[in-house]
Structures are given as structure tokens and as C-alpha cells.
């Protein structure tokens, strides 16, 4: 099938192989010479000692010690001890991340204790840049780095929450309180609509994964590649930015430590909506009084307990070492049967051989996850919370006969507690990742790396409802049961060769690589009902339901397979450590585009940097330690998420009646679009990194412009000529512009007291520049999208229009009410129109808000007094609106369903009068609110003891924390932090699992 591009790619492949071969050959001779040289080292007693921090005397584990001018090197163990062969008079070069490198000449004393000074120059830190690392000072693109000690603390369930508010331009949103939810992350606004990759690429030690693949406790650093020139090395997957998660490592020569950390936490709804009590409801709707007093929300809520335990073992020597991590996380949600249990184990073994030229790493990561289902294949059924809100508070929980109270006349009305109690099931997911890495340094300058990984994630789910479940009482699904599952298999092969060379004044490196990724998904599902009782059947014996015999049982399976193949190269060059250059290119093919004319794409990037402080004319100033200007341009892209959109495909359609028999029809599966191609994001970034006053004040400022060309989206088209009303096409151009500021300061630093502070700020502006391309043949420059739900009705919520921002709400605008409590609208021409005269035509709608925050800010503070530390992290989002679905559903006075109401139902509208009961529920501007908020998100108070009289325990820390502590906002819903992604951001869904405030007590100890 490679007919057309066969030549190009095999040519490229050959080129890569040839280069690799040449490098091998060159390397062998040089390497041999050095081996001989090294074996002639004298056999003196080794130097031993400890490396400690001068500031607090803490041992530094993993510090590097090299005998200058030789290959002899080691690193310290966990207690900072080292041992190294070094002749008298030789020079030891000791380096450790975050500390100034020190050189010590060996005298006749064979014990050398070394004290390192904290290097407050942040630009000396090492950051990951994809297929390699760089000194922060040499980076020419927008990259952020957050270390474990700076992570948020408390009950945090995934990597996203660890760095929430810490990276300028990275919006981490925890839009709901379901314990199975992971945080959603967005970098620099929305950049794709229907691309295969809508979120930043998350790599765990180089292997794709998700924010919850590894336990938060097992993470050492998180690096974020923000701009296009940085992310382009990952090609299309990097189009939304890249989050590089580095797990904890075993470092040093003699290693033997155990660490434990754990915590217990509980939670409550961040803010409970104020619904009518039974008494208030009775007063308002006497005819619907059912006589009981029930607080439905209270009935389904509990005080949850969550506990987490993490044990890390490190052991071995500098030749062979390992780290093992075991993590158990048992979470309860605030609602009954909402939970999530995860067990994770990780083992990583490092082995160096052949004079440390060959480095083998093998790692194994297992994750076992299980949570309770109250809906088929789902976690907590969202409808339960919605039912608890709407349910009549005068309805009893149970009838006198002991059965659940139900009212099945009312459409979609279900006793919320019965939904929980009469259903059971769970979802179990395992994940195994096998990773093997071979790194070979035939020459000092040449690194060959092979990275092979296999990830398999099988998941099974089972679910049953009892005969007392409303599904049986109302719909005759006696004992409805469902089993299903999927297996997701990812394979990755990545081969890279890096050549680094330092010549006088010139420093350069070249990277060549090949990457092959494949994904295979298999899914199945079956359901059955018609069980005689609750004893013999259910999902553990699904075949015995009668629906199978009667022909109503359901069964389905699916399979998808995709792959992504890339060749890439990168070069960096620096002249006199003043002028920096990086350029990369990636040539990539995606199977999703198979059958189109554009399966392969090329994505280049380049960036430059200028370290002004290294110029001679800056020698005389003492204010700045470092100033670096950066500029970069990079192209990334995205293929569509689904395969086979470019060519005509057939699938089975509905049955048709042919000559007395029912026959499956065969129909086209979609509108084929042979012109379908890569969506391209072209990004320009300029920035400056600075550090002054010996690092007391440092930071960076970045400005960017992202141009997305050929936006993939399922656009509405005229049918006919098209077969279906939508087609996946490259239709629009979108632009995102923004500025990001990060400032680190240490306002106070004394021996006993310190105050560190980080400020982040980001502003983003988004605009749709055009809608064009082959599928657009209309004069209209907009389309409507998104849905809002209210009282049995659905309406389009958003409009996407050229010249406007993504995320605009589009609906009727009410400006006032008349004396009868009926809306006064603004018509298309801006004139006021009375309720009874208003046609509610689509032309009468207006822009009534936008759901994407224009700017975000974060303010993180750490105070340290002796052994006591206090962290206060705050963050906020500003200038955006929220559609409050709860109010739209539960504030109307008409109340045709006689559902419970918010107590605001009796409020005066526009301060004048209550809403007329003749006014229909609808989507209008009255339910759109400003969402601006400032959250005191994370407060943690900790106490550390590191001086013990016993050898057994080395350090101990206890802490307490509150997450999502306070929110300052004018918004009336539960939490203004709502979903901000996609084309329909800013809708606060009525059934959303409420967000929570959590309280945590934790402890960590090192042995």
C-alpha cells in the first residue's frame, strides 16, 4: 500500500541507517583506544566522603563526581556518600542540580567531604526538551519545569493537579468532583476542534500515557513544552504542547533507602445549591404535596474517606540499581457508591556495563484500577444527582409497603436513592507498560538510543440492576445486565542517535531519529434482561436472561487500528555561549489519512536565542545574572481522529424488508473527503528569560501567536449533494495570541525564615479568521454548535463565526421584565420586544457571552520558619461567562414537571417582580453569568523533623492541607471552574458531579 510514497520513505530510511552505520564505524576505533587508556589507572585506595548542602547540611543523593580529564566518575548514594578512585593531585568536579558546581583538588587525605552551595541561578537547571535534555540556560523555546518540592500538596489524584496554577499558559481544570475524573489540561487556548490529539501529549519517561498513568507521589519533575518550536520535535502529537513526566529515579553509588508517604482525607461539596425544602415546596405547590419530608441530596451524600499510601524502595550500586514504587489509592466520592481504587506498582532497573558505555534500562509499570458502577460501564451515573435536585422533596423515600417510591408517569423521573441501591457493578482496568531502553555511547560525543515499549490496557466492566430498579418497573428490563470491555494496545519503537561536540567557542549537537507508534483498540459489549429473579442471573451469568431468547439482547464489538510513523532530526548550535540556535524537522505519516492524497506531512521548526549577559559589554553590570532573548517558529499539526474519512466506505445500515425477509442494507458510512489533510498549527514565540539579584528574582515572559490552518471539523454541509449532513474537512483558520509571564521571587530569606513566591499570568485571545475550503459553498460565515438542556428541551448554545472568538454563546437576550413578570427581549435590530410579541426565531438571537477565560493568574507562596512550612496557592480565571444550566432548569416559575426548584424561584427578576408562570423555560441571557473567580486553592501546613537520635528513621514530615478552600466569585452555581475546552466551553451542566473541597492529613518518612 506504500505505492506512491514508497520511494521517499525508503530513501529516508536508508539515509538514516547509513548515517547510523557510519557513526558506529567511526566510534569503534576511538572507543578502543580509550578503553586501553582507562585500564592503566593506578590502583590506589579510593577517595570516600559525603556530599552535603552547605546551607542545611542535608546529604545530597545523586550528586555527580568526575575526575577531571578522565572517564572516572561516580555519583553519591542516598546519604550523600561516594567512593571513587582518584590519584593525588587530580581534580574532582562535583555537580548537583540546583547547586553550584565545585572543583576540589585531591590532597593526601583519602576522605574528602564536599559542601555545595545552592545555585540560585535557575537557568543552570536541566530541563527536558524531547529526546534529550538541555540546560535551562540554553533553551531557545518556551519550556517550563516544575519539581516535586514545588508540587501542590493534599488530595491530588493526577499529575495535572500537581502543577495547577504553576505554569503560565497551562490551564488545568478540575471540572467535576467524580473520583474517577482526571483533570483536563489546555495549553495556550483551544487549537484543534476534531484533531486526533486535542490535549497536550503526556509522556511518562518518554512513553505516551495519561495524567494518571503514574501515581502523583511517584513523580520527580514535570516539564512542559509550550511553544511550537519546542513541541515540533514530537510532530503532530505535540501540537497542543507536551507534558513530560519524569518518575523518581535511583541515583548514586551505594543505594539503600525506603520512603513512605501517606495521607487521609475527606471532602464536602464546594458549595451546595439552595433548593426548596419540603416545607417551602409544599407552600408553593400544595397540589403536589405528597406528605413526606425528604432531603434527597442529603440522602445520596456521605462523608467520604480517602486514603493513600506510597512506598518507595531504592537499592543497588552505581552499576546496577533499581527503584520500586508501590502506591495504593482508595478514594471515596461525596455520593454513595462513587469511588475509585488504584493500585500501582513500578519497577525500574538500570544496568551499566562495558565501562558504562552501555546503559540498559528496563521498567515495568502496572496499574490496577477499580471503581463502582451505578450505570452500565460508567462510574457514578450523573443522572442520579440531577434526580436528587429535581425530585419532589415531599415524596417519601419508600412507600408504606417497603418498596421505593416511584412516579413513572413522569418522563425520566427516577427515585435517586433507588438508582443507587438497586444497581451494582464495577469497571476494572489494568495497565501494563513494559519499557526497554538501550543507550550506547561508542564515543563520548555519540549516543545511540533505542526505546521500545509495549503498553496494554485491558478493561472489563459489568453491571446489573435488580428487579426493583426503575428500569424494570417502568421499562420491563427485568434485571438489566451489561458486560463489556476493551483492550487498548500501544507499541512504540523509537531510535535516536545524538552527536554532541564542543569545539572552542562552538557547541553543537545533532539528533536523528525514527519513531513508529501503533495503536489497536478492541471493544465488545453485550446486554441482556428478562431475569426471573435477583439470584441466579445478573452480569456474572448474563446468558440466562430471557431477552436473549426473545431476540432483544444486545451484542456488539469493534476494532480499530492506527499507526503513526516519523523520521525526525534536530540540530542545536551555540556560539560562545551567547548565540543559540535550534532547528528541527519531522516527517510524519498517519494511518488516519490513508486513502487521502495527503497521508504524509512535514513539520519544521527553528528557534534562536541570545544570552545578552554573556556579552562582553555586560561584564561590568551586577544586576542581572542572566538575560536571554528567544524567538522561535514551529509547525505542528494534527490528523483527524477517525480513519477512512478520505475514501468511500460501506457499512451495514438498517434492515429492509425484501420478499418476506428482513435483510441488512449496505450503505455508505460517511461523506468521503479525498482532500482531507493535516491540520497545521504555525506558531511564533518570542520570549525572554531573566535572573537577577543572584536569583532572588527570576522569570520569563513569552508572547506567542498560533495560527491554525485547515481546522479539522465535522462541518455542516448541504444534503444533497452530500450523503450526510456533516463532513470532516479542513475548513477554517483560527488564531490564538497571548502573553505568559512567570516570576519567581524570594522576598525574604533569613536563616530561620524564608518566603518564596511564584506569580503566573497568562492572557489569550482567540479568533476565527476564516471558514473556507472545498466544503464551504455558502455565503454564511458561521455555524451553530453545542447544546444546552432545560426541561426536556435542547437548543444550540454556541455560534462559531469568522472574526469572532471560539466559545461565544448565542441565544436570546432579555433586557428586562414587564409588570406581569414576562421577559422583554431585544430583537435582531436591538429594539425591545414584549414577551407575547417575540417570535423566538433563530434570527432574534445575539451574542450573550463567551465561555473561555481571557486571562488566568496564579500566586503561589511558600513560607518556611525553621521546620515549619506553609504553602498558600491561589489562582483565578477572568473575563468569561458561564451558562448556568441549574438555574435554567430549576428557577422557572412555570414548572410544568412540578420538579423541585431553587429557592431563587421566588426572587424578583431584575429586582422588579417574580417571573410569570406563563413564561416558558428557555435558554436566554438571564441564565448567563460572569464566571470570574479567584480561588485560594491549596493551603498546606507542614512540619519536618530531620534530626533523630536513632539511625532507623532519617526524616519525618507531617502536614495538613485544604484543597479548593475558598472561591471568591459572583457566580451563583456550585463552582465557576467549568469545562473550557472544545467549541462549547462555559456550560455548567445541571447534572455535573459537584466539585468538592477536600481536607487532608498526611505524613511522610524516610528510612
Amino acid at each position: 500500500m506504500c505505492k506512491f510514497y514508497f520511494f521517499t520513505h525508503y530513501a529516508m530510511l536508508r539515509y538514516t541507517l547509513a548515517l547510523l552505520a557510519v557513526m558506529f564505524v567511526c566510534s569503534n576505533y576511538e572507543a578502543q583506544a580509550r578503553v586501553v587508556d582507562f585500564s592503566n589507572q593506578n590502583a590506589q585506595e579510593p577517595i570516600t566522603g559525603t556530599v552535603t548542602s552547605e546551607k542545611d547540611g542535608m546529604p545530597l543523593a545523586g550528586a555527580n563526581i568526575v575526575v577531571k580529564g578522565t572517564q572516572a566518575a561516580t555519583s553519591t548514594d542516598f546519604d550523600g556518600n561516594y567512593s571513587l578512585d582518584a590519584p593525588e593531585g587530580s581534580v574532582l568536579v562535583v555537580s548537583y542540580v540546583g547547586f553550584a558546581t565545585k572543583e576540589i583538588t585531591v590532597g593526601n587525605d583519602r576522605v574528602v567531604n564536599i559542601f555545595l552551595q545552592v545555585d540560585t541561578n535557575a537557568l543552570e537547571e536541566i530541563v527536558l526538551i524531547g529526546y534529550g535534555k538541555q540546560k535551562a540556560g540554553d533553551v531557545t523555546s518556551a519550556v517550563a519545569n516544575v519539581k516535586a518540592e514545588d508540587f501542590n500538596k493534599g488530595q491530588l489524584t493526577d499529575a495535572g493537579q500537581l502543577i495547577q496554577g504553576k505554569v503560565a499558559g497551562l490551564a488545568v481544570t478540575n471540572a467535576n468532583g467524580d473520583p474517577t475524573a482526571t483533570s483536563s489540561i489546555k495549553l495556550r487556548g483551544n487549537n484543534t476542534l476534531s484533531g486526533a490529539y486535542s490535549d497536550p501529549l503526556v509522556l511518562i519517561d518518554g512513553i505516551p500515557g495519561s495524567l494518571n498513568t503514574v501515581a502523583p507521589e511517584d513523580i520527580e519533575t514535570i516539564d512542559v513544552l509550550k511553544d511550537g518550536s519546542a513541541a515540533a520535535i514530537y510532530g503532530v502529537r505535540g501540537t497542543n504542547g507536551v507534558v513530560l513526566i519524569t518518575t523518581k529515579k535511583a541515583k548514586g553509588a551505594k543505594i539503600n533507602t525506603v520512603e513512605y508517604s501517606g495521607y487521609v482525607s475527606t471532602a464536602k461539596i464546594a458549595r451546595e445549591l439552595d433548593f426548596l425544602s419540603a416545607g417551602q415546596f409544599r407552600e408553593l405547590y400544595p397540589e403536589s404535596d405528597l406528605g413526606a419530608n425528604t432531603d434527597w441530596l442529603d440522602e445520596i451524600t456521605r462523608t467520604p474517606i480517602t486514603h493513600v499510601h506510597n512506598v518507595t524502595l531504592r537499592g543497588g550500586s552505581s552499576q546496577t540499581n533499581y527503584i520500586a514504587n508501590i502506591n495504593y489509592n482508595s478514594q471515596q466520592g461525596i455520593f454513595l457508591k462513587s469511588d475509585n481504587q488504584t493500585f500501582r506498582g513500578r519497577l525500574e532497573i538500570n544496568h551499566k556495563m562495558f565501562d558504562d558505555k552501555l546503559h540498559l534500562r528496563f521498567s515495568l509499570l502496572g496499574r490496577e484500577n477499580k471503581y463502582t458502577s451505578t450505570g452500565a460501564g460508567s462510574s457514578f451515573r450523573p443522572g442520579i444527582y440531577y434526580q436528587a435536585m429535581r425530585y419532589n422533596p415531599t415524596a417519601p423515600i419508600k412507600n408504606e409497603d417497603g418498596n421505593w417510591y416511584q412516579n413513572i408517569s413522569k418522563l425520566g423521573y427516577e427515585n435517586p436513592l433507588s438508582l443507587i441501591k438497586e444497581s451494582d457493578g464495577n469497571v476494572k482496568t489494568s495497565e501494563m507498560r513494559y519499557v526497554g531502553t538501550v543507550t550506547y555511547n561508542p564515543l563520548e560525543a555519540l549516543t545511540l538510543n533505542g526505546n521500545f515499549s509495549l503498553t496494554r490496557e485491558p478493561s472489563t466492566n459489568g453491571y446489573s440492576e435488580t428487579l426493583n430498579h426503575v428500569s424494570n418497573i417502568r421499562d420491563g428490563f427485568a434485571g438489566y445486565s451489561n458486560i463489556g470491555g476493551y483492550t487498548d494496545t500501544d507499541k512504540q519503537i523509537e531510535l535516536t542517535a545524538t552527536y554532541d561536540k564542543d569545539l572552542e567557542n562552538h557547541e553543537f549537537s545533532v539528533l536523528l531519529g525514527y519513531s513508529y507508534l501503533s495503536n489497536e483498540k478492541e471493544k465488545y459489549n453485550m446486554n441482556n434482561y428478562g431475569f426471573q429473579d435477583d439470584y441466579f442471573g445478573g452480569w456474572h451469568n448474563i446468558g440466562v436472561g430471557n431477552a436473549l431468547q426473545e431476540g432483544f439482547a444486545g451484542m456488539s464489538s469493534e476494532k480499530f487500528k492506527t499507526n503513526l510513523i516519523s523520521f525526525f532530526s534536530r540540530a542545536t548550535y551555540s556560539y560562545k555561549d551567547r548565540y543559540l540556535l535550534m532547528a528541527s524537522i519531522r516527517h510524519e505519516g498517519a494511518s488516519q489519512l490513508w486513502g487521502t492524497n495527503n497521508a504524509w506531512g512535514t513539520f519544521p521548526a527553528a528557534s534562536i536565542g541570545w544570552k545578552i549577559t554573556n556579552e562582553e559589554f555586560m561584564n561590568d553590570q551586577n544586576l542581572f545574572n542572566e538575560i536571554k532573548l528567544r524567538a522561535g517558529y514551529g509547525v505542528t499539526g494534527s490528523q483527524p481522529a477517525d480513519s477512512f474519512l478520505g475514501i468511500g466506505m460501506l457499512k451495514y445500515g438498517d434492515y429492509a424488508y425484501v420478499n418476506g425477509q428482513w435483510l441488512r442494507t449496505v450503505v455508505p458510512s460517511s461523506n468521503p473527503n479525498p482532500d482531507l489533510k493535516w491540520e497545521e498549527k504555525r506558531e511564533t514565540n518570542i520570549g525572554v528569560d531573566f535572573s537577577l539579584k543572584n536569583g532572588r528574582l527570576s522569570g520569563s515572559i513569552d508572547a506567542y501567536e498560533r495560527n491554525v490552518v485547515g481546522l479539522l471539523y465535522s462541518y455542516n454541509v448541504s444534503m444533497p449533494p452530500y450523503l450526510y449532513p456533516t463532513i470532516m474537512a479542513n475548513g477554517g483558520n483560527m488564531i490564538n495570541r497571548g502573553i505568559e509571564v512567570l516570576i519567581n521571587t524570594t522576598p525574604v530569606e533569613t536563616e530561620d525564615f524564608s518566603w518564596n513566591s511564584t506569580i503566573t499570568y497568562s492572557v489569550n485571545e482567540n479568533k476565527l479568521k476564516s471558514l473556507n475550503g472545498s466544503v464551504f459553498k455558502t455565503d454564511y460565515d458561521f455555524f451553530d454548535t453545542g447544546d444546552v438542556y432545560y426541561e426536556g428541551q435542547t437548543t444550540r448554545s454556541h455560534r462559531v463565526q469568522v472574526g469572532q472568538s471560539i466559545g461565544n454563546f448565542y441565544g436570546f437576550r432579555v433586557t428586562d421584565v414587564d409588570q406581569d413578570g414576562k421577559w422583554i427581549y431585544e430583537d435582531a435590530n436591538g429594539n425591545p420586544v414584549a414577551y407575547d410579541d417575540f417570535s423566538h426565531a433563530p434570527e432574534d438571537r445575539h451574542y450573550i457571552g463567551n465561555g473561555i477565560p481571557k486571562w488566568y493568574a496564579g500566586f503561589n507562596n511558600t513560607f518556611r520558619y525553621k521546620n515549619l512550612d506553609l504553602t498558600v496557592n491561589m489562582r483565578g480565571a477572568f473575563n468569561f461567562q458561564i451558562i448556568n444550566e441549574a438555574r435554567m432548569n430549576f428557577e422557572g416559575t412555570q414548572n410544568g414537571y412540578r420538579d423541585n426548584r431553587l429557592s431563587s424561584v421566588t426572587d424578583k427578576v431584575f429586582g422588579k417582580t417574580t417571573l410569570s408562570p406563563e413564561v416558558q423555560a428557555e435558554y436566554n441571557s438571564y441564565y448567563v453569568e460572569d464566571g470570574d473567580y479567584w480561588k485560594i486553592d491549596n493551603i498546606a501546613l507542614g512540619y519536618t523533623i530531620d534530626k533523630f537520635n536513632t539511625e532507623i528513621i532519617k526524616s519525618l514530615r507531617v502536614y495538613g492541607s485544604v484543597n479548593n478552600a475558598f472561591t471568591i466569585t459572583g457566580y451563583n452555581g456550585i463552582d465557576p471552574e467549568v469545562n473550557t475546552s472544545g467549541l462549547n466551553p462555559g456550560i455548567d451542566r445541571r447534572e455535573k458531579f459537584p466539585t468538592v473541597t477536600t481536607f487532608t492529613l498526611g505524613l511522610s518518612a524516610r528510612f
Binding site: 500500500m1 520513505h9 525508503y10 547510523l20 552505520a21 558506529f24 569503534n28 578502543q32 552501555l358 408517569s409 418522563l411 425520566g412 550506547y440 533505542g450 421499562d475 420491563g476 519503537i493 525514527y514 431476540g551 432483544f552 487500528k561 492506527t562 505519516g589 494511518s591 490513508w594 480513519s643 468511500g648 466506505m649 460501506l650 457499512k651 445500515g653 434492515y655 429492509a656 424488508y657 425484501v658 428482513w662 435483510l663 442494507t665 449496505v666 450503505v667 455508505p668 455542516n716 448541504s718 444534503m719 444533497p720 449533494p721 452530500y722 450523503l723 459553498k777 454564511y780 458561521f782 451553530d784 426541561e791 426536556g792 444550540r796 423566538h840 433563530p842 410544568g896 412540578r898 416558558q920
Partner: protein, 531 residues
């Protein structure tokens, strides 16, 4: 030396892995690249061709489809808001009833998009036959099939010319330019031309393989329907042509009236000789959620026990009390086509539901209010889908179309034909018989606004041939066509009933749906609606 070996080993490994290719996956599962599917057997071809019929049942019966577009806007049926139960649904049913639909209401959109799906499928199949993708055994078979597909396409346009009038005529699948709109009269001519050009090729087989398909007799009936409405759709009366088409069907001898009207609507009605064109249905094979669910959206929840239904029904649509009052109380159709009064469980136990012929208003009603649809048999033990075939055209209609044409063209004989149909509905032949003169009298329907908000009394005596309109109403209620008849008799926008006030004449056409307008700027909105 060691390192050299390692280098070589790694080099070999690299090469091995690299051979793994630069090939992109092209495995599709559960679907097939069109070019790889070469239909050969009769079954393969049927599987492709019969896809063109599926949209008929969907457009007619799915949620907010043609049945509702024809009934809920007319004077026989209404879905009132049922307090404490539901059916507010954004007031879409109220707007339907009051003719205040907006251009982006679902009620306006669904009939358009589902019907065009049928047209698209036909065009695709004709193209595939033309291109030799679908190869038929011989030229005759091919010609018959092409004709059948063209008449099928015309039948979809029959729905569109009625509901929307000015629609684009699209016949060429390979033309991907945006379609141009045609005038209603041009659409009318197109339908007539397509059917008359192809009718001679069609099969004369009325049942068997051609049951539920476009055979010659369905085509004649379709033509009769077109001519019957020609005055409205084309602006030119064609009564004589209608009579000729009816005569052709009558002369074929393939059809006759059922002895009992109910037999047309029973669960196993596929053998009824009254049915000319049916949409075959089956509760197992037709699996769309709302495939055919009259029982679900008319019966109250309590009736679940009456029919031992798997699902509790939702209790929505009922007859307007004024329409029920227009019936002769002895008419069996009143008794058999509506569910009324005290309801009982299958076991005979009394249920807490008693349907009354009164409904307060479109905004307010109780679960008991209004008589319910009961024309189609609701099988004991029904799921949410009925398996009765849905008759679009039936022989009684042939008789009444002919009668109406005779009457309107000043010929005699209408009374005789109508009486023939009525005979099965009354105990006494005297009551069943109706004369030409009676049929040209006014309507029994007591028109006027009649709800808790206001009461007006317009009556029906000034409706020309009003009594004939009544006959159509009594015979064809719940069959998804009342709007068409009301328009032909000039009643649709001029009379008030229940919570509906007389609207304006532009409401005789639905607007071009908003979403459709947005995708094709060649389209001009129908008169009376915002462009």
C-alpha cells in the same frame, strides 16, 4: 573488541526494527472500502437497493417526522403539556398546534432531512448502476430497477412538494455543486414526469417481492395523489386525471376493501388486500428507538398493564374533543379507532385512568384528558416498537380520491363510492349511505377556539364540501395526512380549533429549515418566514 561486537549487534537490531516499515495501516473492521465490495448475488444487490426504501419509514414515523407534521398542525390531534408528566419539550408541540413554528424547530427540520436522505440514496444507486458498480443480470432487470428507483425518488418529492413546496430537484449524484431551488409547480411537474415516464417499466406484482415497493399500482396511486392536490401544488385542477389513475388501480383487481376497517391496522397486516403501499415494520428488525411508537406516545403510563407492555408509555397525543364530537356516535370508527373511558388491566382489574373527551388547553392537561389513538392494534406484550406495517396508501383512499374528484369536477357518483367505504362502519346500511348532495354540504366539525383561555364558535357549515372533508377525517385519522386534506379544503389556516387560532396562508408550507438554509445559499425562504 567487545564494543565492536555490541555495535554490530545493535546495528543489526536497528535494521531489523527499521524494516518494520513505513506502511500506514489500512485495516478497516466492520466497514469495507466501497471499491472492494462487488455486489454479485441477488442478496448483495437487494442489500444495496433496499437501502433506498429505509428513509420512507424513518421520515414518516420517527420522532417529529411526517406523521406529526401532518397531524399535530391539524384539527384532529394535539399533544398538550401534561402537568407533572411532561410533553412541554420546549413548546414545540404548542407551536405546531398554533402554527408558530420557527425555522429551526425540530418539527421543521426532520421531515426535510430524512426525506432528502431517501433522495440521496436513490441518486447514489442510479449513479452506481450507471457506472457499473452495481451490475444487474440483464438489461431488462436493470431498466425495471432504474424505473423503480426513479419513481421511488418521485415519492420522496411527493412528501417535499406537500410540506415545503419549493425545494431543490437533485438527480445527479456526481454533481457536487450546491443544488438550485425549484418552484413548487416545477417540483410538481418533475414528479408527474418521472412517474409517467417510468410507470410502464414497473412490475405489476402487487405483493410478494414488490410488497412495500414501487410497483405499478403504487405509482398510479401516487399519481392520483398528485392530481388530487394539483390545484394547491400546481395551481391547476386535474380532477379527471386523478379519476383515471384511480380507475387504473381499481381495474387491476389487486385490491379490495377489508370487511372491517380494523383489519388494515392489525399487527399482522402484511397480507391485507386493502394496502397498496406499506412501510414494513418489525419490532425486532426495525430497531430505531422511535421506529413506530404510537402506543408509547399516546397511552398513559397505567395502560402498560392493559397491553402487558414492556415499557410504561408516556401519555402524550390525544384527539381534539371537537373532532371526536364530529363523529356520528354509531360510527364504528369512533369506537374502534380511539381508546376512551375507564381503562382496565389485562387481568380485568380497573386502572386509575379514565379517558375523557375534554382537554383544558394546550398548556395544561391531566393524564386522563383526551381520547387516545387506537387505530393500530397494540399487540399484547409490545415493546416500545410496533410491528404493524404502516399503510401509506390503501384502497379506501383510491375510492375516496375518485369520489372527491368526481364531486369537484361536477360529476355524480361520489356518494356511492363513499358509501361503499362507510358500509363496514355502521350497523345499518341506511346510516352508512351518503348521497352526493350530503357530501357537498358543510362540515359537522364545530370549529372555533375551544380551551380554558377562550371560546369562539365558527362551525364548519361554510366549508365547501365540508362533509366530504369530514369523511376523510373519520376514515383516515391517525394516518399522517390530515394537514394535506385541510389545505385542499381551505381549512388549514382559516379555521380555529382547540388552542389554535386561524393563522395565515403562508403557514400552508413549512419553512426551509434554518440549518439547511445555512448550508446552501442558493435557497430562498418560503414566503412569510424570516429569510
Amino acid at each position: 573488541m567487545k564494543t565492536k561486537k555490541i555495535s554490530i549487534a545493535i546495528g543489526i537490531l536497528l535494521i531489523m526494527f527499521n524494516i518494520s516499515c513505513t506502511e500506514l495501516y489500512d485495516d478497516s473492521y466492520g466497514s469495507v472500502v466501497s471499491e472492494n465490495f462487488n455486489p454479485e448475488s441477488e442478496e448483495d444487490i437487494s442489500a444495496l437497493v433496499n437501502a433506498a426504501y429505509v428513509p420512507w419509514r424513518k421520515t414518516m414515523l420517527l420522532w417529529n417526522g411526517v406523521v406529526r407534521a401532518q397531524e399535530l398542525s391539524a384539527d384532529q390531534d394535539v399533544i398538550p403539556a401534561r402537568i407533572g408528566i411532561g410533553w412541554l419539550d420546549g413548546y414545540i408541540y404548542k407551536r405546531w398546534h398554533q402554527h408558530t413554528w420557527t425555522t429551526n424547530d425540530d418539527s421543521v427540520y426532520q421531515s426535510w432531512s430524512r426525506t432528502f436522505e431517501g433522495i440521496n440514496t436513490v441518486n447514489r444507486l442510479l449513479y452506481q448502476i450507471d457506472q457499473g458498480v452495481i451490475v444487474l443480470p440483464d438489461e431488462d432487470t436493470q431498466n425495471v430497477l432504474i424505473s423503480e428507483l426513479k419513481v421511488l425518488r418521485a415519492s420522496y418529492y411527493y412528501i417535499l412538494v406537500d410540506l415545503y413546496g419549493n425545494v431543490p430537484i437533485v438527480t445527479d449524484y456526481s454533481d457536487t455543486s450546491l443544488p438550485q431551488q425549484s418552484k413548487r409547480s416545477e417540483v410538481f411537474d418533475f414528479i408527474i414526469e418521472e412517474i409517467t415516464n417510468n410507470i410502464d417499466n414497473l412490475s405489476e406484482e402487487a405483493r410478494g417481492y414488490y410488497y412495500g415497493r414501487m410497483n405499478k399500482w403504487v405509482a398510479h396511486t401516487l399519481l392520483a395523489k398528485m392530481y388530487l392536490n394539483a390545484e394547491v401544488w400546481k395551481g391547476e385542477a386535474m380532477w379527471q386525471k386523478c379519476i383515471e389513475e384511480c380507475n387504473a388501480v381499481m381495474a387491476s383487481g389487486n385490491y379490495n376493501l377489508e370487511a372491517n376497517q380494523k383489519n388494515v391496522f392489525i399487527t399482522e397486516n402484511q397480507d391485507s388486500r386493502e394496502i397498496i403501499f406499506a412501510l414494513p415494520m418489525d419490532e425486532k428488525y426495525v430497531t430505531d428507538w422511535n421506529a413506530f411508537d404510537f402506543h408509547m406516545y399516546t397511552l398513559a403510563q397505567e395502560n402498560q398493564q392493559t397491553y402487558d407492555m414492556a415499557y410504561a408509555p408516556w401519555g402524550g397525543v390525544c384527539a381534539t374533543p371537537q373532532f371526536i364530537d364530529s363523529f356520528n356516535p354509531n360510527d364504528k370508527r369512533l369506537k374502534e379507532n380511539y381508546i376512551k373511558g375507564q381503562q382496565y388491566a389485562l387481568s380485568g382489574e380497573e386502572l386509575s385512568i379514565n379517558y375523557t373527551n375534554s382537554v383544558p388547553s394546550i398548556d395544561e392537561s391531566d393524564k386522563d384528558d383526551g381520547y387516545r389513538w387506537g387505530k393500530f392494534e397494540y399487540k399484547i406484550g409490545s415493546t416500545n416498537r410496533l410491528g404493524n406495517d404502516f399503510p401509506v396508501f390503501r384502497y379506501a383512499d383510491i375510492l375516496l380520491m375518485k369520489a372527491e374528484s368526481l364531486m369537484r369536477s361536477g360529476q355524480s357518483g361520489a356518494g356511492e363510492l363513499v358509501s361503499e367505504v362507510r358500509m363496514r362502519d355502521f350497523e345499518s346500511a341506511q346510516e352508512a349511505t351518503v348521497t352526493d348532495a350530503e357530501l357537498s354540504m358543510g362540515s359537522n366539525y364545530n370549529y372555533g377556539r375551544r380551551d380554558s383561555y377562550s371560546q369562539t364558535y365558527e362551525g364548519g357549515s361554510n366549508i365547501t364540501y365540508g362533509r366530504f372533508l369530514d369523511e376523510l377525517g373519520w376514515e383516515f385519522c391517525q394516518e399522517g395526512r390530515r394537514r394535506q386534506d385541510l389545505i385542499r379544503f381551505g381549512v388549514f389556516t382559516t379555521k380555529s380549533w382547540f388552542s389554535h387560532d386561524a393563522s395565515d396562508i403562508n403557514k400552508q408550507l413549512y419553512p426551509i429549515p434554518y440549518d439547511v438554509m445555512l448550508t446552501n445559499s442558493n435557497l430562498k425562504q418560503n414566503p412569510g418566514y424570516n429569510d
